[in-house]
Amino acid sequence: MLKQVIDRAIAEETALDERDLYDLNLGPSHPAMHGIFENRVKLDGERIIKCEAHIGYCHRSFEKLSEHYSYNQVNTITDRMNYVSSMANNIGWVIAAEKLLGIEVPKMVQYVRVIMFEINRIIDHMICNGILGVDAGAYTGFLYFMEHREFAYRIFEKMVGARLTTNFCRVGGLDRPLYPDFKEDVLEWIKPIPAVLKEFNLLLTRNRIFIERCRDVSAISGERALEYGFSGPNLRAAGVNYDLRKNRPYSSYEDFDFEIPLGGNGDVYDRYMVRMEEMNQSLRIIEQAAKNMPEGPWHADVPEIFLPEKKDVYSNMEAMIYHFKIIMHGICPPEGEVYQAVEAPNGELGFFCVSDGGPNPYRLHFRSPCMYYYQGIEELLHNSLIADAVLTISSMNAIAGELER
């Protein structure tokens, strides 16, 4: 049915007169857009003839700002990029900074980071798939997911004291020691998730209307996706087996046993399914990491980089000097540059940092995955229906905060 519509559209396209087309601003603040995305579409009836995706509507100059921030202060900026999974950004940044400084953090810290990262992946996918349902007209599943996202936020709250802008981790370790029941809380949290996913499957994945809305909508081939620079679930949905957790393990991901779900068509349905499968895999990782978590210090032994414990600062001269030095002069990595990418929930989140030996990054570039998805939107939306455009954009999991930084 859809195919016929599109075929007819392509046949008609040459005959179209520009004046017959209808201009529509899909965004910047459009109820169907999740975040501030600016799209100008030219419509012929319900069919999109041309889409212009504009990037930069809410640019907040994070990269420039971070040139004036110390390495730990940059952490507060990364919170605000992908606010759905802020801890993943925090962790990505500190790993990049640690690579620049050449610090090896203890195993325990790496495991805790993996746990937090995967919790973030689950809640990010929950939100993405839930919202996809909302866009397709199914609100209920989203609300059931929100409940468990809330429980995850309680863990964050106990851990760092904030829910959304977490500011988790410092360069060289965690930001504070684990709270006593951390492991139990995490294991408790993952317990009901399989049932919740099953319920969600019943509501949405096994729903004929939803499937027919999603299948073969805005498909992209693996090669084309690679050309655009897609990464993460969107690339894997197109059948390309590329996951940084496997291909370039960081933070002890090589210790865990998990699989990478792959799609084949790169359409909305496959992206959705890849995310659903990834949640199951993330649960496996969390369980392994929580059960095998080694004991150990909560930060690396780097007194000139990591703030000493408060107790020592008040009493111990040496700790006090380090404390003053770190705050006043900042952390000064050696001259050089580093690129570190992590597999953030929505794709490859990279940090390219150039240091001139000073306390601030000389230049910092965030490779945000959404940026690359959004380039592809124009092609994906070409000749699709306006109702599918909404689904396509939300299935891309583009986050405005990260797209425009």
Binding site: T76, R176, R206, R208, G239, G263, G264, M273, M328
Partner: protein, 168 residues
Amino acid sequence: MDQKRKDPFKKYDLTLMERLYFPAIMKGMGVTLSHFFKKPVTIQYPEQKPEVSHRWRGRHVLKRDEFGRERCVGCQMCELACPADAITIQAGEVPKERRHLHTTERYAITYEIDMLRCIYCGLCEEACPEAAIFLTPYYEFVEDSRDKLIYTKEKLTEKTGGPIFYKD
């Protein structure tokens, strides 16, 4: 879209029963209905308060020590560490007659935190070498004007002192 559909998620294909749709919609309704009888997870906010953890990063407090003296020495480390430039401090020497109110001879003459600029990151707490500033689990500070949200030293300093405490 012309090429044949590859199906890695074949095992999820719908059964005939599900494709008939009516039984499936009943099943979906069943899920929703089962939630109908569960205990609601939402809370009625202003009447019912959520419990926040003791690590919560909320309103700041300037501590006093056991003798009721101000701990803050006006070293401006927190100002330096603040990524949002929310803190403004004017430091100075303690006048002789007020010497018993301060731990050292330096103090903050004015100490202001712009609660609207603050991003509640907790870096000031980490930076303070005197255990003077802490973020507390208090989160309800709504005012009807922006001026009232610039908290001065009088507002921030706690009324009574206490022993030093280390926040874990």
